[in-house]
């Protein structure tokens, strides 16, 4: 079942060029087609300036597209409060995304009472339920955001998002600012909540490793366009687009002897105000030909596909070695089983 359908979403920003310059147009998103199914995690990956956050904000209703169509459950998306009921968003910065003047309890209760999902009298009880769902001790409801750690704050933000009982949560770099061990906690939590509630997630990230771990499908963005999309497993096992390959190759792996021998991109991302003609990636692509300058390569919207003229003629993909050494795996297994044996689980006793 398709929950969200984006058709030809385009977003322009009008910039004034200097004191006497005319107006210039920055195209942040260029003809995005995307679908998210119920209970699915779709990840948007790409580097800064690729438009992934703008797309996330458009989905959450915080910005409107310049053109294009958004359907939710097959119907044109509503705005304001009605959209807020269906789609929520969690932001990157756990220190800036919670109103510092409100207690944790008030922060979580606010959306629930606003949408009439719970009466003011029953709100405290609902707050406790939501806090339990995100793994927070109930006593923290009295606290204020500045008294919490980054991970705890992100859990509060998640509980607040869940309070409107939405069908989709946009996670805009929701774990990127956290410590690695806390990232893993929150990622586990997201998966756990998805299992319990069947909610869909739009997971926006600049890093690939977590995306590979938690998403069902992946869309890779470069300069306002989707350049590759497909099932996460396929995209990571056999990336088709040269940009996706470069991204995967640039991600450091926590394994011995992985340094060097990377597929490196030449140069820098071009300015979005002066995009190359045709395929926007061609200025940095080792496989670019004249054809790439002539026209923009199309992208199939079904299955695993890449927007590249040379998909069929690219060299065979050589995956990197990713198996951890025997002894490390044994030690990790030991840790895992010891952690599982702890009663009550450590995580709950401490948060």
């Amino acid at each position: 079942m398709t929950l969200l359908t984006l058709t030809q979403i385009t977003r322009d920003f009008h910039l004034r060029g200097g004191l006497f310059g005319g107006r210039r147009v920055l195209r942040a998103l260029d003809g995005i087609d995307l679908e998210i199914a119920r209970g699915e995690t779709l990840s948007l990956v790409g580097e800064s300036g690729c438009g992934k956050s703008t797309l996330g904000r458009i989905v959450a209703g915080l910005q409107s597209p310049s053109s294009g169509e958004i359907l939710i459950n097959g119907k044109p998306a509503l705005r304001g409060k009605a959209r807020a009921r269906q789609i929520q968003i969690v932001f990157q910065d756990p220190f800036g995304s919670l109103n510092p003047k409100m207690s944790v309890g008030a922060l979580i209760a606010e959306p629930a009472t606003l949408h009439g999902l719970v009466s003011r009298r029953d709100a405290p009880q609902r707050v406790q339920e939501l806090m339990r769902l995100v793994g927070l001790r109930g006593a923290l409801a009295e606290r204020f955001p500045h008294e919490l750690s980054g991970g705890q704050r992100q859990r509060v933000a998640l509980a607040r998002a869940l309070a409107t009982e939405p069908e989709l949560i946009v996670c805009d770099e929701a774990v990127s600012a956290l410590d690695v061990s806390v990232q893993a906690q929150i990622a586990n939590l997201l998966q756990d909540i998805q299992k319990k509630t069947g909610i869909s997630l739009l997971f926006i990230s600049h890093g690939l490793s977590l995306v590979r771990h938690i998403s069902h499908r992946v869309a890779v963005m470069y300069l306002g366009r989707i350049v590759e999309q497909g099932e996460a497993e396929q995209v990571f096992a056999n990336p088709l687009h040269p940009y996706t390959r470069a991204l995967i190759s640039a991600t450091p792996e926590p394994l011995p002897g992985t340094g060097g021998n990377r597929l490196e991109l030449e140069g820098e991302i071009p300015s979005p105000l002066a995009l190359p003609s045709g395929c926007t990636f061609r200025s940095r692509c080792p496989h670019a030909t004249e054809r790439c300058a002539a026209a923009q390569p199309p992208l199939e919207t079904t299955g695993h596909a890449a927007a590249c003229w040379h998909v069929d003629s690219l060299p065979e993909y050589a995956p990197r070695q990713t198996t951890p050494p025997e002894r490390m795996r044994a030690a990790l297994d030991l840790y895992r089983s010891a952690a599982a044996r702890r009663t009550p689980p450590l995580e709950e006793t401490i948060n």
């Binding site: 220190f95 800036g96 995304s97 003047k101 606010e110 959306p111 606003l114 500045h146 998002a161």
Partner: protein, 283 residues
């Protein structure tokens, strides 16, 4: 580390405020003067308007703590009643200016489309000297308490509008504003519970400083004879009255001027202390 520092930041502002002796002194002086002004009818047995030709320009002492003025009225009584008027103009005028300026500033930050229009209007206001402003308003509306309050309010308003806009803009950039919009909050709740609730500290500081300016402006207008007309007691006009007898009886002008000075200085000290306490960069 960051957690630890955030933890320590709690309540730091208030503690530092209390630790600042200047601030305690300024607040004490202001409270004393305000209280005395309010309780003037109880505190003094004299009538501020009853003249006594035989007791003109008496030096301090002999039943009159601060002596008498050119009409033979008890100077301390006049000053208490004068402080009443001046503080009233200051408080109500600044309050009116803060309300108007704050609203304009917040709206300019919140509704970006209105921003340039609102701020150009503010620029126009700012380009008039406040004395000139009060002068023309007094001429237009005729002298009186209302027009004086109006003039004082309008003259402190542009500064407050600017500060409010700046403070609100930095809050608008915070994710929690978007978070509020994302859960579908109505505009009035976003403006009050989210924007104002977080943007107010610098606005409050500036408004405190503006009190001082407002009192000074009210007194200046009074001194120039554009404020309230005699025999109404007002600090500026008392000082002006005394000017004619400056060599004969210097205590009249001096006492009024010192009182104005103390009030304005206290407000400025208070504002500075608030700013220091709230300024995170000075940690």
């Amino acid at each position: 580390m960051s957690d630890a520092t955030a933890f320590a930041a709690r309540g730091r502002t208030w503690r530092r405020l209390r630790r600042n002796p200047m601030m305690t002194l300024a607040l004490g002086v202001l409270m004393l003067i305000t209280l005395a002004a309010i309780l003037a009818p109880v505190l003094t047995p004299f009538d501020p308007y009853e003249t006594n030709i035989r007791a003109r320009l008496k030096p301090p002492g002999d039943g009159h703590i601060l002596g008498t003025d050119s009409q033979g009225r008890d100077l301390l009584t006049r000053l208490l009643y004068g402080a009443r008027t001046t503080l009233l103009i200051g408080f109500v005028g600044t309050g009116f200016g803060a309300l108007l300026g704050g609203t304009i500033g917040l709206c300019a930050a919140f509704y970006r489309r209105l921003d340039s229009v609102l701020m150009r209007i503010i620029d126009v206001f700012l380009s008039f000297p406040s004395i000139l402003f009060g002068l023309s308003l007094a001429a237009m509306l005729g002298p009186g308490l209302d027009s004086l309050i109006f003039a004082v309010g309008l003259s402190v308003m542009p500064g407050i509008a600017r500060i409010s806009r700046g403070a609100a803009l930095s809050i608008m950039a915070q994710d929690y504003m978007d978070s509020g919009r994302a859960i579908g909050l109505p505009v009035q709740r976003l403006l009050s519970g989210y924007l104002l609730a977080n943007a107010y500290p610098p606005i409050l500081t500036y408004t405190t400083l503006a009190f001082g300016d407002a009192v000074l402006l009210a007194a200046t207008l009074g001194f120039l004879g554009l404020g309230l007309q005699p025999p109404t007691a007002e600090l500026g006009s008392i000082a002006a009255e005394g000017r004619s007898f400056l060599f004969l009886a210097p205590h009249v002008s001096t006492a009024a001027s010192v009182l104005i000075f103390v009030i304005v200085l206290s407000f400025n000290l208070l504002g500075d202390a608030l700013r220091d306490a709230g300024d995170r960069r000075s940690v």
